[in-house]
Amino acid sequence: MAAVRSRANPVGLALPADDAAKPAAEPEAAVALSVVIPVNREEPDLAATHHAYLAAIQRIGGSYELIYVLDGHYPNTLATLRALKESDPLLIVLVLGGEIGEAAALAAGFAHARGETILTLPAHLQVDADDIPRVVGALDHCQMAIGRRSAVNSGLGQRLLAGMFHRVLRLLFGHSLSDLVCRVRACRRGVLDEIGVYGFQHHFVPLLAQQQGFAVHEVDVRPGPASVAVRRTPLVYLGILFDILTLYVLLRFTKKPLRFFGSIGLLVLIPGLLFTAALAIARLFYAVPLADRPALILGVLMIVLGIQIIALGLIGEIVIFASGRRIKDYTIDKVL
């Protein structure tokens, strides 16, 4: 199990493949569908899940490949996968060096995927496997199709939180998708190539795709037996909400940092200037003493803070400008 570093294997994954020489010749043979399944905990039912998925994928028809990405050390799950690989040598299992996050795991899987269509599935039966062919089939009319579980039987508090979450999304992005938690997502290769999956963004891949002008369809699916397994605490939603705000600023102001930092900086700088000027006038012309109170320090502090925030915006502008020609603001759909 030697770690191999190559272009197709950028993160130096340990490949439990039989021989290291074979994959070099293989990539030319493209497959129609690549299924990427990230695993981020021990999955006792993985064998059953695998067979359910396999049956569903074979029903779609066409060539396919299955890629499991293990994000961390899960000996039992790895043993299960080894046993599965005995019977199905085409199975690809990637083991990441440590727990480096779902986004990185997905990215590693995508880097290995050779298919024109990529399907991501959770390692537990979040949806009824019988509905998966319909999700992939929906790609005939759009570039990305995601599952939407019809009725997740969760408590009232859970639903309220989820509702609020989606309302914030709609407020910020002008649209929302109703089941972002569902990890059954199929898309064309080009979608992923363009939006990229990094950091925390794997939650929002469908939203980002929509933002980039791709057609994203939701396909109603029945929830699977493991659908309720994931319980979300309010704290988790808070974390995601913070991610969303970061994403919002990134999407709107990446190329115009001064618009963002400048408006905030001015909001601090201008009151600071006015306040300091008022203090100076009061001191000079009306002999109001300044020495016995910290008012002047507050005024100067606001000025300093305002200038610092604006300076950050300007530094951002310089960075953007320096890489200006490399930023491509647009994507071409067709040239006639």
Partner: protein
């Protein structure tokens, strides 16, 4: 290879269109009428900026009928700058023209602009001296903005908003244009040492459709202008821009420190603490600015643009020499 293509194609007319289905046909005819007499091979590039009204179909029909027409369809609406850049990137001509597709600019002015480029200018900007738009919402803000932009950037252009412009392709393809930079093309081009001219052009009232602008752009233009000014100063002296500001803050810090020391001898009051505090704050600002300057200098040096910009200036002289020869 690229130069060979440039020799074949003399002129590219770039027309970014967003929901301009009625204008496309008349615009095409007027452009051909204006450009054909010049006798140089030309191409007309329609950039469909994610229109939803059948603009693409209309353009595609034109392209099918006339091989000189090319159509670029963007995946969604990216805005005017991105559409223009898409056209510029795809254009093969030695001279590029950009123009609004709403028929407010008159294609009949194209030969005038081309003439100025051939006279040795790198960029020729149209000036809508008799602008046919509503005064309060369009013309007045524009006059104020142009005056401000001229003051601040030091590039005296009367009408930055006019999208009828002509460029030498070598120059504009090397000027970084992104986000909503199209208003500042003259300022950005001046960074590369471009020779800029402006001429009066005709302007017509809108015949079809509605204007796609609003007043909300004022705050954007304001901040963009400050950003451009910073870039202009920074590109000339990358090492000193923030340093200067930092040293100024440092001087103020020293001044308030001196004040604190002087007042300390005055027993009537005891302002030392307050002035010391102010001095410390200003001192921290000075350090922040100096370090910020170092960071941006580092960035600038590592992703260097200077070489590309100097290439632009060099090629201008080459272009002039070949023109005279």
């Amino acid at each position: 290879m690229a130069e060979h293509a440039n020799e074949e194609m003399g002129l590219s007319v770039i027309l970014p269109a967003y929901n301009e289905v009625e204008s496309v046909g008349p615009l095409y005819e007027a452009t051909v009428r204006a450009v054909e007499p010049l006798g140089t091979p030309f191409e007309i590039i329609f950039v469909d900026d994610g229109s939803s009204d059948g603009t693409f179909a209309r353009c595609a029909a034109l392209a099918a009928a006339d091989p000189r027409v090319r159509v670029i369809k963007l995946r969604r609406n990216y805005g005017q700058t991105a559409a223009m850049v898409a056209g510029i990137d795809q254009a093969r001509g030695a001279i590029l023209i950009t123009m609004d597709a709403d028929l407010q600019n008159d294609p009949a002015d194209i030969p005038l602009l081309v003439g100025r480029i051939e006279a040795g200018y790198d960029l020729v900007v149209g000036w809508r001296h008799q602008r046919q738009d509503r005064f309060l919402s369009r013309k007045f803000p524009s006059v104020v903005a142009n005056w401000l932009i001229a003051r601040v950037t030091g590039v005296d252009i009367k009408d930055n908003g006019c999208s009828l412009k002509a460029y030498r392709a070598d120059l504009i393809k090397n000027v970084p244009l992104y986000s909503e930079m199209h208003r500042f093309i003259p300022a950005m081009a001046s960074m590369a040492g471009a020779r800029i001219d402006q001429i009066k052009v005709r302007h017509h009232a809108r015949r079809f459709g509605t204007s796609k602008y609003g007043l909300s752009r004022i705050y954007k233009v304001f901040f963009d202008m400050i950003a451009i000014k910073t870039l202009l100063v920074f590109v000339r002296k990358p090492g000193t821009f923030f340093m200067g500001a930092g040293c100024f803050a440092g001087l103020l810090a020293l001044l308030s420190l001196a004040l604190a020391m002087i007042d300390a001898s005055d027993m009537a009051q005891d302002p030392t603490v307050v002035m010391m505090g102010v001095s410390a704050l200003l001192g921290s600002l000075a350090l922040f600015l100096i370090f910020g300057g170092m960071v941006s200098y580092l960035f600038y040096q590592t992703i260097v643009r200077r070489r590309e910009l100097s290439v632009v200036i060099g090629s201008r002289w080459r272009g002039l020499a070949s023109h005279e020869a």
